[in-house]
Symmetry: C2
Subunit: 144 residues, 2 copies
């Protein structure tokens, strides 16, 4: 196991809801440097006891918050809030103002995907992923 490899990457996760907290826990397990931002302090209760990163209680749409999170040093920004508009705004700031190398955003409405593409932001659509998974289980069953 190569646990010392690539552990100096710095990852900012915006939103500590179900997705953000789950991702933060996963990456923390991989010994990554993680900072999670959420407006609501209670959201951080979702982080596991083993979570070794930092938390910032603030609105990530405000530039000051992102500066506090040292966005200029971030290798990855993951926008995971429940709001597509918030995610796109944060992705835009991260990409165009701070040149963050890797920006990924959750996107509920796939029709907005083009906007992200233009920004060179990767998108993850829970609906599309779920539909593919449903389909794969259904078609697998039928082969039996």
């Amino acid at each position: 196991m190569d646990i010392n490899k690539n552990n100096d990457e710095y990852i900012i996760i915006v939103g500590c809801g179900r997705l953000g907290s789950h991702l933060a826990n996963l990456l923390s397990k991989e010994r990554k440097s993680v900072v999670v931002i959420d407006k609501d302090e209670k959201a951080f209760d979702r982080l596991s006891d083993e979570f070794s990163g930092f938390t910032i209680e603030a609105d990530a749409i405000e530039i000051d918050t992102l500066i506090k999170a040292k966005i200029e040093r971030a290798d990855v920004v993951a926008a995971t809030t429940n709001d597509d508009n918030t995610n796109i705004m944060i992705a835009q700031i991260a990409k165009t103002i701070y040149g963050v190398p890797k920006v990924i955003a959750r996107l509920f409405e796939p029709s907005r995907e083009k906007v992200y593409e233009e920004l060179e932001v990767e998108t993850i659509c829970p609906t599309t992923l779920s539909a593919i998974e449903f389909k794969s289980i259904i078609l697998k069953e039928e082969e039996k």
Copy 2:
């Protein structure tokens, strides 16, 4: 291509939101027999022009609706509404009353997974799928 194989399976999709409609469109493309149930007629606007299945505008929690959808003949029931409780109720009816061979439900709250396991219902959690996808993109990037 074996397009005539397994096309007599009968699939009921409950909920024609983003997920249900996307899944219905995917399965219809595979030439499956699909019926989609939703309380809201407008939800069916999400179905593609090529969708060749049937729609039922009714509340799937009512047994009459499921009877109308010929649930006793269904090979698969996919519960895709936005409400975990509705999905679990429909999954329960499909599995225990009608013995539908394959029942799959969307589940936003993974802590409820145990209830489904006891029912032998497969679950799909968009949050878990999305977190895995985020993680995979992030770790891939770091290998560069």
